[in-house]
């Protein structure tokens, strides 16, 4: 009975955070469809686990951590756009939709920063994660997350004021 209740609690956390997870993956992969595939895979992995090993309050962070690590793995492996082996025709390129343009705009603004700074700014500003949550996902102290955020923001401020002058 307890197991069933805990299972239900986990499923609720997944449903409540699905939008956030897809958005989180989307900003890192640059593609909504890839993001949904990846989030779905992460959820399947979570559901295969024995939920009694995860604290009820830890499911959300667990999911973000898996998704973050999977996005990193995917970004490292990806050098070309890939398509399934079954389809040997190159797909037509599509007009970028508004959300994709948004992603491109934000990622290009952050492109001048070191990845460890841009990632924290992305997580705090776009994903709405607290510095404690960010520290949890990246396995760094909260204070380190804050100092990288500050360093990145200072560089952005300088970068944006240089852009205005030129």
């Amino acid at each position: 009975m307890l197991h069933k209740m805990r299972r239900k609690a986990v499923e609720k956390v997944i449903e409540d955070n699905l939008d956030y997870l897809v958005r989180f993956a989307c900003y890192r992969l640059g593609n909504h469809s890839d993001a949904e595939d990846l989030v779905y895979e992460a959820i399947l992995r979570l559901l295969e686990k024995d939920v009694s090993t995860i604290k009820p309050g830890g499911v959300r962070m667990y999911l973000f951590r898996i998704v973050y690590n999977m996005c990193l793995d995917k970004s490292r492996a990806k050098t070309l756009e890939t398509i399934p082996v079954e389809n040997l025709e190159i797909p037509d390129s599509q007009e970028a939709d508004s959300a994709t343009k948004d992603i491109d705009r934000i990622n290009s603004t952050l492109a001048g920063l070191r990845e460890r700074e841009s990632e924290i700014i992305r997580m705090n500003v776009i994903d709405g994660l607290s510095f404690a949550d960010i520290g949890n996902i990246l396995s760094i102290p909260t204070s380190t997350a804050k100092s990288r955020y500050k360093a990145g923001m200072e560089k952005l401020r300088k970068q944006l004021s240089n852009d205005k002058l030129s």
Binding site: E11, I14, E15, L18, D19, L21, V22, R23, C26, H32, A35, E36, D37, V39, Y40, E41, I43, L44, R45, L47, E48, K49, R65, I66, N69, D73, R76, A77, K78, T79, L80, E81, T82, I83, P84, V85, E86, N87, L88, E89, S98, A99, D102, I106, T109, L110, R114, R116, I121, I126, L138, S139, I140, T144, Y149, A151, M153, K155, R157, L160
Partner: protein, 384 residues
């Protein structure tokens, strides 16, 4: 953090991104264990992807009756179910050098590698005798055993530290990554063939970087013309062995070979860090020596060793590192000369040749390695 509200407003998305209805339906279905089992199997087979050109080329090279998709999907599937891997390999290097370093003139040094993967959490250990490293994803501790000092970084790119060997920590992706890198980097060629019960994947690649100054040429696999060979058991689809050779002066010289791979062993004693190692945190942000050329920065640092001027040294070298690793050797040294700065390979570092007389009279000639700090000053990253 209200002081950054203007920048936060600039970054804020104009359009919200949500999960599609289809994803919601799939997730809801996944809550039912029986429905989830069927869809997971479908995902494993359907989600394997390689580029169109790679796919068509593989189909050309594989003998009739054996599909590239079947081979690759089975290897990946085999490795999906593998949580632990134990590997022994040999690399032409020095036991104390960093993990990326190779030298065709050195003997083979044994490396023991342990890998444990669970839910995208990767634990790994590499031990090459005098130097070892343990990692939990990007949280990495590296140490030099004879000196009992080490470095801790909790957000580091594994490839930065391990170079080519980072690929071996994730054997499941070797085939896909190799094929994609071949097409991305240009000038690389590959072939796949089957002999008896073994499948051979061979990749020939050019050195990456600018080697007008050849200082870094052939000092790492990425910075060498190289041939990488992988052998896969055609029956079990397990990676059996791998080797890397560099091509220099028209000769092929093996520099790395995996001599054994053990799937799903017990790893009870792996990932242990010995006691008594002094770890330096790589989080220290150094300002660097600003407003100087590379030669001037090198001279300034090397001159500061004579009286251990920490006002200068602490700007360019982590204080705990200089104290633990350099003070004993360099305190009281006299700088004799510096040469002209140069870059080599991928250009991440600037090298300045130097000649220094140590306090015991020994003359040391080497190239100090510098990089730019976040605030555009010069910091020391090696060569001492």
């Amino acid at each position: 953090m209200d002081e950054y509200n203007d920048i936060r407003d600039l970054l804020r998305p104009h359009h919200d991104i949500k999960a599609s209805d289809e994803l919601r339906r799939k997730v809801e279905a996944a809550f039912d264990p029986d429905r989830r089992r069927r869809s997971f199997s479908h995902w494993i087979l359907g989600g394997i992807s390689i580029s169109a050109v790679a796919a068509s080329l593989i189909l050309m090279f594989i003998p009739k009756g054996m599909s590239a998709k079947a081979i690759i999907s089975e290897v990946i599937s085999r490795l999906e179910n593998t949580q632990n891997i134990e590997m022994i390999l040999e690399v032409r290097t020095r036991s104390i050098e960093n993990f990326k370093f190779i030298d065709k003139d050195e003997n083979f040094i044994r490396h023991d590698i342990f890998i444990s993967r669970s839910d995208s959490v990767l634990s790994w250990e590499i031990d090459k005798g005098d130097r070892a490293a343990v990692g939990l994803n990007r949280d990495i501790k590296t140490w030099i055993k004879p000196l009992r000092i080490g470095w801790h970084s909790n957000d580091h790119d594994i490839t930065d530290i391990l170079g080519y060997m980072a690929n071996l920590l994730n054997p499941k992706e070797i085939l896909e990554v190799e094929l994609e890198q071949c097409l991305a980097s240009g000038g690389s060629r590959y072939s796949v063939e089957k002999k008896d019960n073994e499948i051979y994947l061979t990749v020939k690649a050019k050195a990456r970087g600018d080697f007008r100054n050849p200082y870094l040429l052939n000092t790492s696999i990425a910075e060498s013309d190289n041939i990488r060979r992988y052998v896969i058991d055609a029956v079990t689809k397990e990676l059996k062995s791998a080797s890397v050779s560099i091509i220099t002066d028209g000769r092929e010289i093996p520099v790395l070979r995996i001599i054994s791979i053990n799937y799903n062993p017990r790893l009870d004693n792996a990932f242990q860090i010995p006691a008594g190692i002094h770890f330096v945190e790589n989080e220290t942000i150094l300002p660097g020596l600003a407003g100087l050329s590379a030669e001037e920065a090198a001279s300034t640092v090397l001159n500061a060793f004579s009286d251990w001027n920490t006002d200068i040294l602490d700007l360019a070298i982590s204080p705990s590192l200089s104290q633990a690793a350099y003070r004993q050797r360099f305190y009281g040294a006299t700088l004799l000369s510096v040469g002209q700065a140069f870059t080599s390979g991928n250009g991440n570092s600037t090298f300045v040749p130097y000649k220094i007389k140590l306090s015991d009279g020994t003359i040391q000639c080497h190239n100090i390695s510098l990089q730019r700090s976040d605030s555009n000053g010069w910091i020391v990253v090696g060569g001492l």
